[in-house]
């Protein structure tokens, strides 16, 4: 039987994107999507893009991956999310078209 697919969504401060994408890639994901403009509030107060600096901008990362990979992403992201602003959730995917399973990045 095929491993269940998960949808990992991470809101993260933009400056931490390179580190996060490295973690995601190393965890074995075959792809990811980044929506580069997001703002919001959380424990660190309001974060809105300043335009002249990346420092207050958030981004949204979406990763569709098998449960095992999703777990490794979650584990790998935890220390990053302690230092940098962000939140990560994992949710079920019922069906998926277009994911190339064998190929890691």
């Amino acid at each position: 039987m095929q491993e269940a697919l998960k949808r990992v969504e991470i809101v993260l401060e933009a400056l931490a994107l390179p580190a996060a994408l490295e973690i995601i890639t190393k965890a074995g994901a075959t792809g990811y999507t980044v929506i580069p403009q997001a703002w919001g509030r959380g424990a660190r107060g309001e974060r809105t893009d300043l335009g002249f600096s990346e420092v207050m901008r958030n981004a949204l990362i979406i990763v569709i991956a098998p449960a095992g990979v999703a777990e490794r992403i979650t584990a790998g992201m935890s220390p990053l999310l302690a230092d940098y602003a962000g939140i990560l959730t994992v949710a079920n995917v019922e069906s998926c078209v277009g994911l190339v399973p064998g190929d890691t990045l």
Binding site: G45, F52, S53, M56, D83
Partner: protein
Amino acid sequence: MQGLLATAGENLVSPAILFFALGVVAGLVRSELAVPKELTAGLSLYLLLAIGFRGGAELAREGVSLAFLAAALAGLVLGLIVLPGVAFAALRKLGRVDPVNAGAIAAHYGSISVVTFATASTFLARAGVPHEGFMTAIMALMEAPGVLGGILLARMSGHQKPAEPGRIGAALRETLLGTAPTLLLGSLAIGALTGGKGMELMAPFLVDPFQGVLSVFLLDMGLTAGRRLGDFARMGRFLIFFGIAMPVLAGILGVLVARVVSLSVGGATLFAVLAASASYIAAPAAVRLALPQARPDLAITLSLGITFPFNILLGIPLYFALAHRIIQG
């Protein structure tokens, strides 16, 4: 003296300053007025490019002199060691700020503010006061060292989690290869290479509309600062005091050092402005990467919300008056 006061007063009614004030007021009353952030990014690219290019062209006209090298050295020492050190000590001893946030703030004040520099250049031009053409190059050189100085102070204070080497690397890259240093130094080099001919080609884009673009950018900075004014309450009185006392102290220091390296009145004013101004374009990202435990909003609110308005409204004429008295007197 009366002439100086008049100059200061005139500074306050220049369009760029008034657009900043409009932004602050609009931000305070929560107007819907907002500049799309992609446009803000574009405006800051324009300003960095224009300022760098003009500085390069001026450098080409003058050539590299001993005076330049002396001023550059003085700027480096000031930015890397003296300014971050003074800021860090004041924040730690007088303000009892934790070492990480003290280092983060010191990094912003060790570095320079390109837009404050541009506003000061306009001020001098309107007052008819000449200055050394190499001052923009000095500014470009002073952007990175202060950031590094502040970061090092925070890290040396030892209360910090063991450094992840990857993050220090990322911070170093950001200091040298971030948007601001790349564009400022690159444009400076191109301006120096193409000289007067290049300037002629680019002037209708880089020089003629400069005041207008600066005004729109300052309007936007005013909006950002105005919306943050509420944060001051939560920031504590010491930090507000620091945001004004630090530039005054650094400005005085700047004029004195400028005298040692024999800058003109105009050059000394700009040198003082470099010392007194705090970065909010280049420093925040590098500091954030190196010191994630520091609160980024604190340093930005201080440098953009307090020190920047102080400098462009009162600081610049003050440093000019000082330079006038100490250098020419």
